[in-house]
Symmetry: C2
Subunit: 418 residues, 2 copies
């Protein structure tokens, strides 16, 4: 028998007691209500109300094992057949394409505009909806990821208003992936939930069906192994709400530890709490370090021949564009790989650095990208950058296009390129 | 700042260190491999091998948030359209009917035989498969719940062999719901996994596709709020295995605490461990208390007019049959409820006791049942039984059929019955 000693701040202990009081049986080992423990949902609703300045209700919260099951649940409910379409950004986090495919619906892409910092243009949405409708697709919902994954942009408030208006006019459910709401790295941008935007425009629960997804896997906490998350569901009538609850109840409930964590991230320590100062120091330390890492990587990418990279305003990613030489594209084709996948594999083999090819997220035809997280430890970033630069320069030297005048015919044919 | 002291047995501490060593980063906050932490899967495989006496591999284990997501995953993979059918017992735990409906397949029922203690007859399986095939349904898999939910029976070894043979002959995937494997309450029955049965018959990984589901929510542990579970997947070729992994990876991974618990239930303390004795006392205490509760409830039900109840050999339930008077059936019809739902509602209103109507699980036409758990605390069982008896006797007095000769015509009409 061994005895261990632990010390806790007084607010942590008080909070633990408060949480236990909220859970029937005061233990985490039993199933909860299929939407999650009511007291924890109420706490999340209070956190949302404090964030947005608009009312939120625990009855509208569905706690889930991370955000992914919540997304699946909504896809399950929205998609009746391949004639039902869901508007999703390209590039997009592939959970959406996978979920739509698994539920037998149609993926209706809209392109984010790289030129304007991965802007989301309502004209583009309208064009894609009309095109889908002309093919007999019933477009049922719009997915917006804000801050963006893999693109890292943060939507401007004005842009969000136009998107809300668009959904209202077109009769679409707005599925707002807001899991990166704490991850903002630029002074001139701020996170606004779509619910806050809609309410500030005067739209009530009766006007607009809106689902917001949140997760304990991102932010400054990043507890992704705990599988906690929730969706806030507003603007559906009672019949539909009942069906959402029915689907939620098939899997009984999400894990209770994840439920507790979800309530904690929406109600962090407050002024006056013993742990408040150390919490704020740690939180700000993490966010500002992520911001520095994003900046350092962005500058490094932009300093290189053949790479352009938009600012990471938020989320955890950069999505630089690779302007690959024709010769490299030819080599990729000869290897049977997408050009950016070929580049990523070569990078991995040469340096051990893992990036995800843009072709995995979807991208404008003829463009190539990769997604790079900003998560490596800050003190390792300079070494990563220098290894990356060395690889990239060699890669460009190997494949740099020579002008047609200079190119020896044999070499051109061999490369399968220009 | 407050200091708390905790004491742990030396094997618990050692195990905690071993577990941390198995997890990359030695923390539970990061995503794991989409099948679950490799070291934990290996430990589960070792536990399965020790249980069955046949080889098991961590590569075949998929850790999930409870058993339900694993069932959904297999249904997702097996069902292509409404022309694909899944054989399921009736009565059945409604996860199966719900999952088949959600994935757009056909539920192909086979009836368990109440007369022979909820026996699973291969003749019945054959009859239902043939009938489904004659309607153009491709029957793809057989679900067996052993020990049974809601029926509480434990299959005999000989019976299991016939079921394995049947699946082999008919080319069916055997989906073995074995979540109640630790819950056996009779001396003459024992749990045998279907994999052990198949291997003991000489069938190898090449002969029979077989999936076994296990959960931390049942057994003597019952940690259902932790959402831990796994499936062991054997007998599929590499292409199919890749698709299973692909579907598993859509949701990234299951919660790490649940993964750890899953590894613990398959590897409880061993002889020589400091906690072994107290563990065994607690485990045996829980199982033998559940056995006594099952026996007490079974005897109470069988002592009552109009109720017959099979033995609870395993699982956590009794599924007594209600032989309801015609007058009660008429009253239920008048109230717009299934007769057993009407009975359950009246019971709830009169006593606060909750049972689940048999109509929620499916049952032979014209029969009525309810499912009753054996989970109330043992010292509360006598009071529950006495409240139940009092209600039931009054209910029978209220509705007891009188012979046609004695019945005043008015009353017969009023009741809407016989």
């Amino acid at each position: 028998m061994l005895i261990y000693m632990f010390s806790y701040s007084s607010d942590a202990i008080e909070r633990a007691w408060q949480i236990l009081e909220k859970i029937p049986g005061r233990a985490t080992g039993a199933y909860s209500h299929s939407q999650g423990v009511k007291g924890l949902r109420d706490e999340i609703a209070a956190g949302i109300a404090a964030r947005d300045g608009f009312h939120a209700s625990g009855d509208n919260i569905f706690l889930t094992d991370g955000a992914s099951p919540a997304v699946h649940m909504m896809m399950q409910l929205l998609i009746r057949s391949e004639k039902d379409g869901i508007l999703c950004p390209l590039p997009q986090y592939p959970l959406y394409s996978a979920s739509i495919a698994l539920h037998g619906g149609s993926f209706v892409p809209y392109f984010l505009d790289e030129e304007t910092g991965w802007g989301l243009e309502v004209d583009e949405l309208k064009k894609q909806v009309d095109e889908a409708r002309s093919k007999g697709i019933t477009v049922r919902a719009l997915v917006v990821i804000n801050p963006g994954n893999p693109t890292g942009q943060v939507l401007a408030e004005e842009n969000q208003k136009k998107i809300v208006e668009f959904c209202k006019n077109e009769g679409l459910v707005l599925l707002a992936d807001e899991v990166y709401q704490e991850n903002i790295y630029v002074e001139d941008k701020q996170f606004h939930s779509f619910k806050k935007i809609a309410r500030s425009m005067g739209y009530t629960d009766d006007d607009l069906p809106l689902v917001s997804f949140q997760s304990v896997s991102k932010g400054y906490y990043g507890e992704c192994g705990k599988r906690g998350g929730y969706m806030e569901v507003t603007g559906f009538n009672a019949d539909v709400r009942e069906q959402i609850y029915k689907v939620a109840s098939v899997n009984l409930c999400s894990n209770i530890s994840g439920q507790i964590l979800s309530s904690l991230i929406m109600n962090p320590p407050k002024v006056g709490d013993e742990s408040y100062e150390s919490f704020m120091v740690e939180r700000d330390g993490i966010i500002s370090s992520l911001a520095r890492r994003a900046k350092a990587l962005e500058e490094a990418f932009n300093s290189l021949e053949g790479i352009t990279c938009n600012k990471a305003e938020g989320a955890m990613y950069l999505f630089p564009r690779l302007h690959l030489p024709q010769k490299a594209i030819g080599a990729a084709q000869a290897a049977g790989a997408a050009p950016d996948a070929y580049y990523a594999l070569r990078l991995l083999q040469a340096t051990g650095i893992v990036v995800v090819p843009g072709s995995g997220f979807g991208q404008a035809p003829g463009t190539y990208h990769f997604r790079c997280t900003i998560l490596p430890q800050e003190d390792k970033i300079p070494a990563i950058i220098s290894r990356f630069k060395e690889f990239h320069e060699k890669f460009m030297d190997e494949f740099r296009d020579v002008s047609r005048d200079e190119a020896p015919t044999g070499a051109t044919i061999e490369s399968g390129g220009d």
